[in-house]
Point group: C2
Chain length 124, copies 2
């Protein structure tokens, strides 16, 4: 597919996988409301009904997928949300998706090119 929208490169299963668990989303939401103020593992764990070892694993998963950043201070590890990176990823994905709709790809799929024009603005 001769397309310039880079959609398949932006569709990362690992990122969505990290965001597919309710407890991980609660962790992300809680950290996001901290206004860039980092939180330690034990602080995050106090707000959740799961074992602190599980929280540690969830935080590591969110860090590995690029959602959170970790920083060691003394004997505690403080996590914070990578706001700009995450928002940028989501916006880039939104742009790539809408770019595909407007016919960025070549001739392999657009077997009737007129439909592109007739459906602009009328979709979902």
């Amino acid at each position: 597919m001769n397309c310039d929208c880079d959609l398949e490169d932006r569709l990362d299963p690992d990122l969505f996988r990290a965001l597919s668990d309710p407890n991980r989303l609660m962790i992300l939401s809680g950290l996001a409301h901290c206004c860039d103020e980092p939180r330690s593992v034990s602080e995050v764990a106090t707000e959740l009904p799961i074992d602190i070892s599980v929280v540690s694993r969830h935080l590591s998963a969110l860090r590995d997928s690029g959602v959170l950043a970790a920083e060691r201070t003394g004997r505690s590890v403080r996590y914070r949300v990578r706001y700009s990176a995450l928002a940028g990823l989501l916006r880039g994905l939104a742009d790539a998706i809408e770019g595909c709709q407007q016919g960025c790809c070549g001739s392999d799929c657009a077997d009737d090119s007129g439909s592109v024009l007739t459906t602009v603005g009328g979709g979902d």
Copy 2:
């Protein structure tokens, strides 16, 4: 948390769950490059190395999560990408995340309000 960014409402585990499988993402990417031209289950299945019954299940999952729209024409079911809905969801989520960073929430987390200003522009 007295926050007006609606972050936890936008963080839907089911949506991310639907996007967490590589084969489902290949289906979505393939359909997105069709420029709003619907594809039937069997047409989608020809481009994937998995059984058509599995493809049918994947398409249903993507439809249930709001990513795809389905329409029956004769004895075939044609799926298409809900470009605007999906892009809008992602942009709304990006806005909500960045809104949290800039201190939309109240006093429960921002225990030193000065850090909000000093970290603007210097994040991740």
